[in-house]
Assembly symmetry: C3
Homo-oligomer: 639 residues x 3
């Protein structure tokens, strides 16, 4: 495998052309070999409809490319120019309050609008034609951060029309839809697809089957929007196509988008994400305020490795304070390097920083770059340089011993039928991931379409509310250890409780007869310690009881090899369950002190200290001794 690369995001259109060459030389001097450009530049490429100016981009590509930088060229479809709204006045997304989401920032389009979709394909095709064979262009990025700013769920007229067509295609006859959704329930029956609206602003909650189909339709619209640009680009280029995803966006099926692309990338903002999308509470946020959640990036690295079918990058790496979280502190010195190493440990082909130079105008002027606004080096630059200097060949990423199934559709089910205020699919899956990582285990994330589990000694499938049939079969055939639950198989494809009751798990004779949700201050104790919190199921059946609640109800049932978990374990219980399962799978676990994390890449083990204190490694990580400073990273051969 080639040495991982470092790169940076750059906006030639923001700076005087006379500056480009110097910037390019400085990038190279900093050890960077990739540069992403162009993804917001539509108004400069096509200032008026049909009137093009590619000259500046030709020159920018030449200048950067000739300096030795590989170029990732973005399609600018996240920022349609103002004139686009004259052509397609109804192209804006509409929010849950019924208000159009207007021009003046970015991502101002509804994925379901076919007119805008065609415009996006048009500009992508033109870029492909012009630059598809340009030797400096080493990869393409389509659009930017699908779903960011909550832009997938839209209630526009275009979406309503598309939804009706989608439903007609799915059900053929509206009476089949009525039957599938159970519309008899509250006289919600339809007599024509034209009568059906998006499930919004109803008096009380809409039919969950209605909502789930709408979420599926919206996700399909993202896939189709992306696919239209893929189709426009493909004939013109052999360079890989990519998209840069975000953190904790569950509103569309990333695996489905990823199937049409060669590379998955993501935008990693550890401090911003800790502040604005962690469930771990205020004390956790305080402790990791300058380091970021120690598992959040790791989770997404593994997730996007799966989405990219093995090929993945970090496209935007936070290099200093950002501008958009509730609080925006500076990283602890060393963290920019640590974050980069963490990505590499998980197999990143490249890590690009966002952005080269802090821009002194417009929305992100308070977002740090590798350079300050005055072009002097910002603190991140030296850390990037230090990583670049230390980079060399690394073993293949290989396969991790543990597989964790992640399914976007499951998150839509949990969101649609929350049942308890804290019950969130991502939170559950991420709790499990954290427990695995705290035990020192490396993880592969598995899409729900996985048909073969044989590479993984231990497989976990929490919260998989609707069984993907091939996965159920793979599980039945799996040799290793597998744990599913809670809420696995809780719904049919039509969002109904299965007649034979969940979970219908191969090899486990158990039926969930009822569930309850729990206040945070009302956990249900487990007999061996810890508790179920938030979600708890009552199980019947002949499956042996592996763990019980303190009240005697089964908590974990089945066999060592194939077990079903009847609730949402707290950290204490998850730690025990994960370590036992790992032991049964023949996997060694570690007892890592607070903030220390480990990731194996082939024969190399990376050790990272996310805490703000030095940590002694003696007796903690086999083969390691001494003390790891805050934000320290250690590379050692696996024991």
């Amino acid at each position: 495998m080639p040495t991982p690369k470092l790169g940076v995001c750059y906006y030639p259109e923001h700076w005087p052309e006379a500056r480009w060459a110097l910037d390019a030389r400085m990038m190279r001097a900093a050890g960077l070999s990739l540069v992403r450009i162009g993804e917001f530049a539509w108004s400069r490429l096509e200032p008026r409809p049909g009137e093009f100016d590619f000259g500046w981009l030709d020159r920018a590509i030449a200048t950067l490319g000739e300096a030795g930088l590989g170029i990732v060229l973005g399609t600018p479809t996240a920022t349609p120019p103002r004139w686009m709204l004259e052509r397609h006045p109804d192209m804006l997304a509409v929010d849950a309050e019924g208000r159009p989401r207007k021009f003046g920032s970015r991502r101002h389009y509804c994925f379901a609008h076919e007119g805008y979709r065609a415009e996006a394909a048009r500009i992508a095709g033109l870029l492909g034609e012009r630059y598809g064979r340009n030797p400096h262009v080493v990869a393409w990025q389509i659009d930017n951060e699908y779903g960011c700013h909550d832009t997938v769920v839209s209630y526009s007229d275009a979406a309503a029309r598309g939804f009706r067509r989608w439903l007609a295609a799915r059900y053929g006859d509206v009476s089949r839809l009525d039957e599938a959704w159970g519309n008899v329930f509250w006289s919600m029956e339809y007599t024509a697809f034209e009568e059906i609206d998006p499930p919004n602003l109803t008096v009380t909650e809409a039919n969950p089957a209605h909502t789930l189909d709408y979420r599926r339709f919206l996700s399909d619209a993202v896939v189709a929007f992306n696919a239209a640009q893929v189709a426009a680009l493909r004939p013109h280029t052999d360079a890989p196509l990519s998209h840069n995803y975000m953190g904790r966006i569950l509103s569309f099926d990333h695996f489905a988008v990823g199937r049409d692309l060669e590379i998955a990338t993501w935008d990693s903002y550890p401090l911003g994400f800790l502040e604005d999308r962690s469930d771990q509470g205020e004390d956790w946020r305080r402790r990791f305020a300058r380091q970021g959640d120690p598992d959040f990036q790791a989770f997404h690295h593994d997730l996007y490795r799966a989405v990219g079918k093995g090929r993945w990058w970090v496209m935007e790496q936070q290099p200093g304070p950002v501008n958009w979280a509730p609080h925006n502190p500076a990283p602890l010195p060393g963290m920019v390097a640590l974050w980069t190493w963490e990505a590499i440990a998980h197999g990143a082909e490249a890590v690009c920083y966002f952005r080269w130079r802090q821009v002194p105008f417009a929305q992100e002027q308070m977002h740090a770059g590798l350079l300050r606004p005055d072009a002097a080096p910002a603190p991140g630059l030296a850390e990037a340089r230090a990583v670049a200097d230390a980079l060399d060949d690394l073993p293949e990423t290989g396969t991790a011993p543990v597989g964790l199934v992640v399914d976007y559709q499951a998150s839509w089910v949990w969101e649609t039928e929350r049942q308890g205020a804290e019950c969130d699919y991502f939170r559950l899956v991420f709790d499990v991931y954290r427990a695995l990582r705290c035990a020192g285990l490396s993880v592969d994330i598995l899409p729900p379409t996985t048909r073969d589990l044989s590479a993984h000694a231990l497989v976990l499938a929490p919260g998989l509310a609707i069984w993907p049939e091939p996965l159920r079969e793979a599980l039945a055939a799996h040799d290793g250890i597998a744990i599913a639950g809670p809420r696995t198989g809780a719904k049919t494809d039509a969002f109904r409780i299965p007649e034979a009751l969940p979970p219908q798990m191969p090899g486990v004779d158990a039926r969930v007869t009822r569930i309850e949700t729990l206040r945070d201050d009302c956990p249900v104790a487990l007999a061996e310690g810890g508790a179920f919190r938030f979600w708890r199921e009552f199980v019947e059946g002949d499956a042996p009881v592996l763990e019980a609640c303190a009240d005697g109800e089964p908590a974990l049932v089945g066999t060592r090899e194939r077990a079903y978990l009847a609730g949402w374990p707290d950290d204490i219980a998850l730690d025990r369950i994960v370590r036992r399962a790992a032991g049964a799978a023949g996997l060694a676990t570690l007892a890592l002190p607070d903030g220390l994390r480990v990731r194996d890449r082939g024969s190399v083990r990376f050790v990272m200290n996310y805490s703000a204190e030095p940590v002694s490694l003696d007796g903690v990580v086999p083969g390691a001794t001494g003390t790891l400073p805050p934000a320290g990273t250690l590379r050692l051969p696996r024991a």
Copy 2:
């Protein structure tokens, strides 16, 4: 009095016809003798406008009735079919944000829309014609849960038009309205009724007189909507007419609706209501998470006994976890029975569980039934059966020694002019109710139209912001003990401060010269212990001071027989005030430990343990010994 009955809610249209007879037999075997059907089935009765299918309902009634079940037949007007919106596109309610509340769930209509009101009367009349003399139909239910999902307050054009007509009828000339409302205040004077809008989205608060009249108009619209169906049904049936009210809905005058019906019923969801409509704080919610608030159901039992003029049922009794509260735990074993007994102790003619079988589709698929989705018994079934087995003749409910006045209009005054963030009429009244119940006293709730108080040794009228003249006269003539205040008589009918100052209470020479509202952390101590919280009045006059604040200001003034309370007492103060007043009225009180409650029905006393711990009864309840387990109920003769 006949033995109370048990029943259940059933939806034949949700299940295969072949299953109906078995379900009916199982209901009978469980000790149930009533079944409510039909209230959401409009799309199956009239699939297209004017096209009817009564066949299935004929057969369902026959099957259930012949199995020995008495049928409560619902009019399906809470769920107008989709085609209704083609006929009346403007029938939807409009929320406070100005958004129509759309089709896709239930209760999607504005009470003030006359076209839909006529449609509702039409379907009610047709059902009356067909089933009014059917011997199996033992009662009717009109619509379902008026006001649920906040559906009374609507700002639709239909409501605006109706409001103008209502104002014209009330005031005759717009100058009289200007005068009554005091519109001179901010140049808000009108010159025609057509200029007046509903009081919504004004720059700052609307004139409270404007708001109060709108609340009255909205309440009248509910009464008229119900009356239209009463008028359509009455000619066709002798069976009693009913409606199933909800918990803590103050948006319309239930007494006014109840005057047109024979029976009041309500839908009792103790665990859901504890979570989503209790003021008692998080620790209280934790302690009673699996039992429900120990007084909330009792309050509503007494309330709806008054609304039903003595005849009342529980129409929907929670049988297990529900699906709609922030958290939905399972009841403590025994609570389903305890809740049933509590209703019977308060004189319920019937208690029906909601629902027979958990439905595996649509909005309420996570709502427990007496059967599980797979038709096996759910835990609630055995508890219902146990109650059925223990049921026998009980004495008449009789009259409780304590009367507590409840007035919906008062709640509109408090809501319209809150003055302090925590100042809520229901909360105040319910605080008083809880104090009475903690003292072991049984309560009758009295409507504001009460003209004779002689049956009650002790009468309480807290927060009655506008005096109903007959009640004031009844109070003047009352022989027993009476306490009014705070805020009694604070406003005239036109929402003005009375010229002679409040409270104008017969027999108490006192004037409230000013009031203040208090932060929760700034209570005003009372000389004898406890404090006023939230609301406090300064009183002048010759009435003797019965209790004073620690700062010397009067707190309770008047005589032993007729006293005015100048603030909102905390629990300690309320307990003292209530016990003293009961003593003066010759009523014995009990010192009940936490969670224990008592209700007398004629010569029988019911003792119920709402705590999660066993409670010793020795020396606590006269004539009772030993220990009552959690969720335990005891019946004993009154000492």
Copy 3:
């Protein structure tokens, strides 16, 4: 200087004409000599368009004036009558949700609507013609409480049209706007001014330059609205023109409005403001619940003295509980007098109470007056009377030794680009003000247009995000001590980071290279104690380091005379910084116990006790001995 006057707000149109003379006599007997009338009476002056009734106002002015009261006559433009909406249906403001803010209360107009602006000038002119030379009319008030109820920011079509014109005038060519705003950033470039909307409901944040220009435009609209009435009144009267501002309203430039008026007044509601606009937390609110924030009124007194160019009043002084805050307690006895004395200590020419008699109808019926609704004296009356009795000649207000720069535009910058959740300009400035006052220092507030600082030994300019060039020059020339920062000069006029980096402070060689914002639980300790909170900057340059952070980074740089503060100090740090700077400026400071405050007026020192406990003055205030009771005020010669 003449003796300060007391007055009251009165609404003859609310009361029977027969009552007016008695009210006037009672006012005089209470020691009042001013009465404000007319400001909400449009519907009585012009009941239908063009149809006038001035008779009642003629008689009211005569009655009040002949009783010896000087009259402040208001223009009624805060309450356009209902018919105005028939003439100008599009005159309403539109809120951030896109909803018109409707008729039914007050302030229902958009400042940018030119049709309504002309109507307002028309009625002002008519009043001027009729009463401009009336000898009883001693002053005019234009409109009422600009910006109250959040009425400056509006997204109406009228505002959008006005904004485009304003932009066209400012930039001439749209390409200059694109360049200034940096619209290239996300392809936000425009090709015509007509394409530009107000920055609202964009997908993510709008360009901050776009938002800042909109804020400037909205502020200019307030200035223009006021100026139109000034122009209409001026030809008819020599009496001073005024407006009554509110507390903590930052939405328009009060200095700019004030330039067109002779007198600034403000409406001081200490208890309401403590509840609804203090940042100091719940414990602070509890401690001062009945006294109000001890510094909030003082700050605004000093602010409006500056806005009024030395001439200022309190136009509405809270006399008892109000009706609009989350909680509305009664003031501690004595506070009405203390609040009045505090105003006088700061140089108020007059203090008027709001209102004379509590009105028994409409929106403010729970707002106390000097009389109760039954016309008996309310507690505030005696306190006003006591102040009146004690009033006599006082020295000129003079100049305070400390100057504090306040700039409305800076608050728009902070709001537009908050960067940290707690980062609010007013909060920062008010923190500094509190520290000064706790050190016993009297303060002059300085507008950003100040060109001469020589009167002030110590000048503070926190948070001044955009340098006003003359002030920067004045600072360069200043002889005394000056401290600026944090965030001073952080932006250019076009909302860009200056190329040479901030702060560009004369005499301080320092560059802010980056900033970070801090969670409340993540302060950055300072070496000498206390900490930076919320906002922290990293500074480079040759300026000496006066204070450092515990981590060694500079915290205060420059010289004793000219220093730049690189963060937001907590109370401990601010106290030290302020005392040291005062010491360097040769100013004595005091160590005042909790709740005690001091204000010097010429040779007289006022000492006020805002705490609820008596405070010993021995050794605390030079020349004072003994104990000051709660709500006590002491006047003594300055030591």
